[in-house]
Symmetry: C2
Subunit: 437 residues, 2 copies
């Protein structure tokens, strides 16, 4: 069993180094506790900018930050690469890929993963985009498809490689659709003199009647206008039936031939075993009380996308956005110290600072409480917020340089296929080198 040195300090085990887990660890700096963070990656991913990695306008590593480096100065912090399979709450331990670990307090901050709603074909053939490897795979697929299109002489054979269908018109889908459209409108013909931008079709699909469902009607309408101007076709009130890698079909009978379906239509929480099914809410989230504690457990917390704090004010829990995870993380960090000191805890109250979504190069929509606005100024706010939310000065500077370059000439970026993507596995191009010998 892995444990820290015998210490009189309680051990707080944080599962997940995302927005929420990071905040818990930060709050516990210089507090009378030991902190052990586990994550399957050794870095934190700034998910809001993944779509730029997918289009190659940002390097993958500029939106990732080494967890060890981030907490390098925090004396009570330890990190291990590990995945948690089970919580043994009667023993106060977790089963992990590096052995059984005992905890005094456990924070489940495992986030969410893509929800394919049980459709196995879609899960196999469509591309999710919730991690850096997934964004890179998507990038490789997009640019490989363009290279395939270049080789096709017959229009019907070429079209599926130039048709992109994005399912899910939340902020992720909208931002990605706008970025692909801008690539088509301003970069494609320079990089691929063999292709015509009019041959590239981009569809944004949702079963709701409008895009950006969680945002205001005003934001929806403005986004739809911007998307239209960019040349994105909206298919609303449309429910996907299936996708076999060649054709995507809808419940109304419509179908589109495409080699690229990108799925951002839903998320579900990532829950280890050991949590009773009656505690699992819709969207695979763990039910918690108003200090983020898993119902019935006095030393296990759940925060962020994996949690559902059901109260009279929040009958469906909170939205799965970064600000919720960040604020819950801060709340849990403080409350753990209160509990240890025998002090009163502070209930969690979400301070909704608003929503932003960007469409294309210099437009965005913003709902900031009662104030709703759209256009260039909203975009400046979006830039500002995302740049300063990044972890680390170096990352901020690198992203900023990339954005300046992209803004000046549209043509920034690393549209590089580093490894050939094939479904099921990522083929290592080292294998391709050996073919020459």
């Amino acid at each position: 069993m892995e444990s820290t040195d015998k210490s009189k300090f309680p051990l707080i085990v944080i599962v997940g180094g995302g927005f929420g887990g990071l905040q818990v660890a930060k709050q516990l700096e210089d507090k009378p506790v030991e902190v052990l963070m586990l994550d399957k990656h050794n870095y934190h991913t700034f998910q809001p900018l993944l779509y730029q990695v997918a289009l190659g306008s940002l390097e993958s590593e500029s939106i990732a930050f080494s967890l060890r480096k981030n907490f390098g100065g925090q004396k009570n912090f330890r990190f291990r690469i590990a995945e948690v399979s089970k919580v043994n709450h009667e023993k106060n331990t977790i089963d992990t890929t590096i052995g059984e670990i005992a905890y005094d307090y456990l924070v489940i901050a495992t986030g969410s993963t893509t929800n394919f709603f049980g459709n196995k074909d879609v899960e196999h053939y469509a591309m999710p985009m919730k991690s850096i490897p997934e964004a890179l795979n998507l990038r490789y697929l997009i640019f490989q498809n363009l290279e395939e299109a270049v080789l096709k002489k017959v229009k019907e054979e070429r079209e599926p490689y130039l048709t992109f269908v994005l399912v899910g018109a939340g902020p992720t889908g909208v931002e990605l659709a706008g970025a692909i459209a801008e690539f088509r409108n301003f970069v494609l013909e320079k990089d691929y003199p063999e292709l015509k931008k009019d041959d590239v079709k981009i569809y944004l699909v949702d079963f709701l009647p409008r895009v950006l469902g969680p945002m205001s009607e005003q934001a929806s309408k403005a986004s739809q206008d911007y998307l239209h101007k960019l040349g994105v076709e909206l298919l609303l009130n449309a429910k996907v039936q299936g996708y076999d890698g060649h054709t995507i079909t809808f419940e109304d009978g419509k179908s589109i031939k495409t080699k690229s379906v990108i799925w951002s239509a839903g998320v579900m929480g990532v829950i280890p075993h050991g949590i009773s099914k009656d505690l699992v809410e819709r969207g695979n989230r763990i039910r918690t009380d108003n200090i983020c504690r898993v119902i019935g457990f006095d030393n296990v917390f759940a925060i962020g996308d994996v949690a559902a704090m059901i109260t009279d004010d929040t009958p469906k829990g909170h939205p799965g956005v970064a600000q919720v995870a960040i604020q819950m993380g801060q709340n849990v960090g403080k409350n753990i110290v209160h509990l240890i000191k025998g002090e009163a805890t502070v209930p969690f109250v979400y301070n909704d600072k608003g929503s932003l979504a960007t469409i294309g190069r210099n437009k965005a929509v913003a709902d900031l409480g009662k104030i709703k606005f759209q256009g260039f100024f909203a975009w400046l706010i979006w830039i500002f917020v995302h740049l300063f939310s990044l972890v680390g000065t170096r990352n901020r500077v690198i992203v900023f340089i990339n954005w300046i370059g992209n803004y000046i000439n549209y043509n920034g970026g690393s549209r590089l296929i580093i490894r050939r993507f094939t479904r099921g596995t990522v083929k290592n191009t080292t294998e391709e080198v050996t073919k020459y010998k």
Copy 2:
């Protein structure tokens, strides 16, 4: 058969988008020819900085440049991702992964790959570093090994994960050894409070009696001093017998237990089929005349690492360095136009501008003709030369920012394990996400 539109211009097919191929294509801009470049990657790799990608002090994409983007403005340029398997010179075609392609002139600029000298175990277990995927795999291995070491409680079990053996003390091996040593000396204990720098051992191995064999004795001696000061152990006059993933053995009977053997001990040219064996020189290079034409072929050229221009002045050909490839590329580009116009060609004469190698953070050695110097000033020259040799302003700025950050606090970089590396294949961490469900 793939071909361009019927055009009265001759088609120049360039196989390889490295230093040499790039220059041929550049020379042919606005000339009365069509250019088709083929490469297995859609980007050019700036190999001299690969070792920084391996250590995570540079993002992988900052040393890669999209070939399509680079030549986006060149009207007579086309690009395809393809690998060439065979030259059919009697037909003037090449067999490729995208079909048979006819050429009027062919330039073989395929470069070199790692030479394991026939040792199959070493080839399987040791890590080469001649491409971005290989540098990334090496990075993942290094940092995965450190994570493994953290989990080991017994010193003997931990040591192999903390022992790094670099075989080949040319510039690549020396630069990488210096970088690993600096990581150990200045960053390791901050990121990994569980590890001690004295537990990490770094060996630099060569069968020659001194490091940097191609450089001057003065440069060798200075490098050896710097390496000693950084704590790298030199094993010279040492020939590797085998490596099984756990222990590397030498012909003198010595052995070292290590999980990381990095092989930069030799290169060999990458030659497609169809070139007669009597034209293949030592190091798997194609013999050419003094205008880089393959002996006996009047319309096929070979340049750079894959070529051996054997003359009285150059009885062993030229060194496999970037400047040779660049200058040969320029020469071939110009001579192709001369040949087309029926003008006299210009023989190739290599202008040796000197050699540089860097050791650690701010030391380098420089042989610039008669002038040989070492230390901080040589390092400034190294920085200057490499920064301005990069392709593209954005890449230069990004690399510069990274270097500033690294210089100020040693602690730049993205020591990120994006995908878990296992020998044989690269396991996609997307597979690891599904384990949670």
